[in-house]
Structures are given as structure tokens and as C-alpha cells.
């Protein structure tokens, strides 16, 4: 695992919007082949961090590398994918057309496209609804369609911004089985979540607060370090600690 080097290495990354410091001096090292969970309250800078890595927001300062390439990078397309926090799909196209559109952008051939489409739609449980317009799906289903589009290129490294929000418990469990399977194949999943039970299922958790990373480690270690019984309390303990 380690000989691959880190999938993501971030150094001193900052993003300022006027006086708002969305991300401050962020250092991150995400090993390959793990599930990394970014957690933190609303506005703590999770989305901004991911957007900077994806080259969608220009960092004010700092550098980052993904799979050994310095950002911003274009052309890592096939290896990296991104699921935005908002659904960000074409509501006036069907599920299947959305998935096909993204596979074409990733340059998949027609054969591969068909098999990948079938596979990702199965994972998100939308095989039966593939010919429905995305705009006609329920909110949770739209979110699942969005995840399908982010997985269609079978990437090495995935950034999923709140992939399970609004998804029912049964499918959520299914998603996690799938994430674990991807991890077994050596792929890296970086996700954000507000659900602490999901954070506990990550290999490494990074806790963000006001744009800073205030703690990082395996969920068990974080609990041990603070002597708390759940991650929520551990998080509060870290906030108190850095406030001192």
C-alpha cells in the first residue's frame, strides 16, 4: 500500500474569499487504497478543499499532488473522478443518457460504456429507472444517479462530496459494501459526510474546523486519544483542545 506513495498530498493549502478563510494551511496525506472521510461542521471547508484538488477553485496559496501529479491537472480524467455536493446532472436527460454522456467524456469505447453503465446502475439501484428523466426522479434517486456518473470511469481515486445524503439506509449499506470492494481493488475513496456512523467506517478520518484540519487518524485512534466513546464527542474535544 505504502510503496504506491500517497494518493493525495496537500501542503499548506489556503483559500480565501475576501475576508473568509475557507481553508487555512491545510496539510493532508491520503494513502492509496483507503477510504478517507473528511468531516466537520457546515462551512468548515470540506467542499472547498475538494474543489481545489479538482482544479475548479484556484488555491490562494499552497500546493497539492494527486497520484504524483501537481494540481491543477487535466488529463488525469480517467483515473480521478468527482461527485459534487449538489446533484449536478442534466435533469432533461434520462439517467442512462447522463451516464453515457459522462462515459463519452471519459473516452470509454462503446462496448466498455455499455458494461460500465450496467454495472454502476446496479450499484446505485437504478437499473429499472434508467430510461426516466433525471428531473422526474426523487431527490435521493437523483443523488444516486450522480454517484453512478462519478463511478462510470472506474477511477483510481474518487472524491465524493456527501455521497450518501438523502439515501435510504438499505442503499447506504449497499454503497458502503461497494466502497469497501473498491478499496480491496486498491482504489482510493475520499468522501465527506455528516453521519458519524459512516465516519467510523472510514480507514482514516480528517476533522476540519474553520478551514483547518484539527485532527486526523483512524476512528479508533481518535476515540482513544480523547477518551471519548463516539466520534462526535471526540470532535468536540479536539475543538476545545485547539481553542486553548
Amino acid at each position: 500500500m505504502d510503496e504506491l506513495g500517497p494518493a493525495v498530498a496537500v501542503k499548506g493549502l489556503c483559500k480565501e474569499y475576501g475576508t473568509i478563510k475557507a481553508v487555512q494551511d491545510l496539510d493532508l496525506s491520503i494513502p492509496s487504497g483507503c477510504i478517507y472521510g473528511l468531516i466537520g461542521p457546515n462551512g468548515s471547508g470540506k467542499t472547498t478543499t475538494i474543489k481545489m484538488l479538482m482544479g475548479l477553485v484556484r488555491p490562494t496559496r499552497g500546493t497539492a499532488e494527486m497520484l504524483g501529479h501537481v494540481i491543477p491537472i487535466k488529463g488525469l480524467g480517467l483515473k480521478v473522478s468527482y461527485m459534487p455536493q449538489e446533484t449536478a446532472l442534466y435533469a432533461d436527460l434520462t439517467v442512462s443518457e447522463n451516464v453515457q454522456f459522462f462515459s463519452e467524456l471519459y473516452g470509454l469505447g462503446p462496448e466498455l460504456m455499455r458494461s460500465r453503465e450496467e454495472e454502476v446502475l446496479k450499484v446505485v439501484g437504478l437499473s429499472e429507472r434508467k430510461d426516466d428523466l433525471v428531473g422526474h426522479l426523487s431527490g435521493g434517486m437523483q443523488h444516486r444517479a450522480s454517484l453512478a456518473c462519478a463511478m462510470v470511469n472506474d477511477p483510481q481515486l474518487m472524491f465524493l462530496d456527501e455521497p450518501t445524503v438523502g439515501v435510504d439506509p438499505e442503499l447506504r449499506a449497499g454503497f458502503w459494501d461497494h466502497f469497501n470492494m473498491l478499496k480491496k481493488e486498491g482504489r482510493t475513496v475520499v468522501l465527506t459526510t455528516h453521519y458519524m456512523d459512516e465516519a467510523c467506517r472510514c480507514d482514516v478520518v480528517g476533522m476540519m474546523h474553520k478551514g483547518r484540519l484539527i485532527a486526523e487518524g483512524a476512528p479508533g485512534e481518535l476515540l482513544q486519544e480523547t477518551g471519548q466513546s463516539n466520534l462526535e464527542d471526540a470532535f468536540l474535544a479536539f475543538i476545545r483542545r485547539c481553542g486553548r
Binding site: 480517467l78 459534487p84 449536478a88 436527460l93 467524456l105
Partner: protein, 381 residues
């Protein structure tokens, strides 16, 4: 630049339209409506029409009636007399010189006074009979409004000058000859304008709305996180909207040909090329403007800003000669002006690329500039 990804974008845009039947229907039917509705509310005062005068009149003694008429014409604001050629001018064949000016599009008309103009009239006045004299008009009939205005001006000048000089108006014939547009009717003149306007409106509106939608729903950011480049997105969209514009123009042309029996003298392919370039350029402009809008509402505000000047000042319904001088520079800034000029010259005058190349070049440069700026603007984020 990857062709497959570019075409994927094009396909996506067209697929969206296919699912949205009402919009697709609107795109096709709107121009047809426009031809019908605007067609019969045509108006506008014509001013500063370039004309050449060929005065071959020898006069009788010291008096020359043609000079009196020309003096009246010079006061007429409808006309802009570029040059007065006489038999003493340094031109070998003044009549064909004038005709050439009209053929080349340097003037809308050439007014020719024949050699015996004054003497024939004098003879008529003395005998109150016999042959009367005539004035020959060579007209570019590609704009019926202009034809009417020039003819009316000449007739007005004749009657004013002669009433003053000899007290009554002998029946002088004003003989019009159409250099271009013989047998043209109203609809022939404005069909090229309406087609261009319709395509411009639709591509511009579609583009401004689609892009703001891409940005506000987050799909644009998502696209940019895939291997697709800014250039491919812009070009993919341009291709899609260019195609939409082509389909529209084909439908309108077909309608106009079938229902109104319009005349098309030149190459239809050239007309389609002109309209395609206009569509692509307006798509780019829509993109640029939508990038300066924060939301749909702000984006929509740009639509009348571009549309109204285009409808009024680019020669759709009345020639830009009818546009007040103060506003005429605006006309020259509007791409629609060039598209209409080129489309009309092709359809009515039967001109080819050899004559309309400048318009086509301007449209092409405009389209390229808009696309390039769109790409640059998207990169700068």
C-alpha cells in the same frame, strides 16, 4: 482538442432539445411566425440612399431643365448624390458607368437624363403634343422600400422644378429599370432579414440560458473535472447551436419558398453558411454575457439589450439608410447587420462569395472571436 468529446457535448445539447418537445417546436415555428407577423408591418423612412446621376442633357441655349431637377434632388434628404456625371466628364460611356455603380452595389440607383431632355420638353410645351421626354432610373430592386423612395423622390423633384419654371408639369416618363430584383415583392426583401433575425434570437437566447443553467446547477464544474476541455465544451455547444440555426433556416426558407413563393437568385448554400456563422457567433456572445451573470434573472436581462438594437438597427425591416445617423455606428457593431446584408445580396441580387466575402469574413471573425473569448473566460476561474 478531442473530436469525440466535442461531439459528446453536441449530442448532449441536441438530446436535451429532443426531450423538450415544446422548445424544439418553438425553435422551428418561431421564425415561421415571425415571417408572417412582421412581414406586414413594414415601415420606416428612407434616408441617404446613395445614387449616381448621369446628366447627358444638352439643354436649349443657356437653360437646362435637368439642372433644375438635379438642384431639387440635391435638397432631398432621401438621396445622397455620390457623383454627377455629364458628357463632359472624363468617362467614356456615362450611362454604363452609372449602371456599373449599381451593379457593384456602390449605389442603389442611377438617374439618367437623356441628351434631348430639355429640348424634347420645350418642343412639347410649344406644340402641346408630340413626344415627351423621359428620365431613366436604374434601380437596385433588392430593397422595395428603397425603390419606392427613389422613384418618389425623382417624381417629386420633376414636378417641383417644372412647376416653378414652366408653370405646369408635362407628362415626363420616369422609366425604372431594375438592375437587380426585377419582379421582387415585399417578402423577398425582408425574408433574408427575418431568417437571420430568427436564428440570431434563438441561438443567443438558447446559449445564454443553457450556460447559466450549466453554471448554476453545477454541471459545468462537473464537466471541467472530467477530461473535457473548455475549448471542447465551447465548440461542442457551438456545433449544436449552429446546427439548430441551420435547421431553422432550412424550415423558414422552405416555408417562404412554398407559401410565399420568394425568389432566391443566389446560392442557398451560401445563405446557410452565412446563417451558420451568425448562429455560432451569437452563441459565443450569449456564453460571454451569461458568464457575467450571477443567476438566470440577471442573464435574461441581457436578452433585450442585444435583441432590440438588432431588430431595429440592423436592416431587418427597413434599410440601415433609414437609421438616424446618430445610431448608425451601432448598426455597424451588430453582427446581424452583416448577416442580413450578405443573405439579402445573395438571395435577391444573386451575388456570390466573390461579392459578399467581406460580410462573411466579418461574421467569421466575430464567431471566432466570441468562441475564443468564451474559452479564455472559462479558463480564468
Amino acid at each position: 482538442m478531442n473530436v469525440r468529446r466535442t461531439l459528446a457535448i453536441t449530442k448532449k445539447v441536441l438530446r436535451s432539445l429532443r426531450h423538450d418537445r415544446r422548445t424544439a417546436g418553438f425553435l422551428v415555428l418561431m421564425p415561421v411566425f415571425m415571417i408572417a407577423i412582421f412581414g406586414f408591418t413594414f415601415g420606416g423612412e428612407v434616408k441617404d440612399v446613395e445614387v449616381y446621376i448621369v446628366n447627358l442633357d444638352q439643354g436649349v441655349g443657356n437653360s437646362s431643365l435637368s439642372d433644375l431637377i438635379i438642384a431639387q434632388l440635391q435638397e432631398d434628404e432621401t438621396l445622397d448624390i455620390v457623383e454627377i456625371v455629364t458628357s463632359t466628364s472624363n468617362v467614356s460611356d456615362p450611362a454604363s458607368y452609372g449602371r456599373e455603380k449599381v451593379e457593384d452595389g456602390d449605389a442603389w440607383a442611377c438617374i439618367i437624363f437623356p441628351e434631348n431632355f430639355t429640348s424634347d420638353i420645350m418642343a412639347y410645351v410649344v406644340t402641346l403634343g408630340g413626344e415627351t421626354s423621359s428620365i431613366d432610373l436604374m434601380l437596385d430592386g433588392s430593397n422595395t422600400n428603397i425603390v419606392q423612395a427613389v422613384t418618389a423622390s425623382v417624381q417629386g423633384a420633376v414636378s417641383d422644378a417644372l412647376t416653378e419654371d414652366i408653370g405646369f408639369v408635362p407628362p415626363i416618363q420616369v422609366q425604372g429599370e431594375m438592375v437587380y430584383g426585377d419582379g421582387m415583392s415585399f417578402i423577398d426583401t425582408f425574408a433574408p432579414g427575418v431568417i437571420s433575425l430568427a436564428v440570431m434570437m434563438v441561438t443567443f437566447m438558447l446559449s445564454i440560458i443553457s450556460f447559466i443553467h450549466e453554471r448554476t446547477t453545477g454541471t459545468l464544474a462537473r464537466l471541467l473535472a472530467t477530461p473535457v476541455t473548455e475549448g471542447e465544451i465551447v465548440l461542442g455547444y457551438a456545433t449544436a447551436f449552429g446546427l439548430v440555426g441551420l435547421v431553422q433556416s432550412i424550415v423558414v426558407l422552405a416555408t417562404a419558398l412554398l407559401l410565399f413563393d420568394i425568389q432566391v437568385e443566389g446560392s442557398l448554400l451560401l445563405v446557410l453558411l452565412i446563417i451558420f456563422l451568425l448562429g455560432v457567433g451569437m452563441q459565443g456572445l450569449g456564453f460571454l454575457l451569461s458568464a457575467n451573470a450571477k443567476n438566470e434573472f440577471q442573464a435574461i436581462q441581457f436578452i433585450p439589450l442585444i435583441l432590440f438594437p438588432s431588430i431595429l438597427l440592423s436592416g431587418v425591416f427597413w434599410p440601415i439608410q433609414a437609421v438616424p445617423a446618430l445610431l448608425r455606428p451601432v448598426s455597424y457593431f451588430l453582427p446581424l447587420t452583416y448577416a442580413i446584408d450578405a443573405a439579402r445580396s445573395t438571395m435577391v441580387r444573386g451575388w456570390g462569395l466573390g461579392e459578399v466575402w467581406l460580410d462573411v469574413l466579418i461574421l467569421a471573425v466575430f464567431a471566432m472571436a466570441m468562441l475564443a473569448l468564451s474559452v479564455l473566460l472559462m479558463r480564468k476561474r
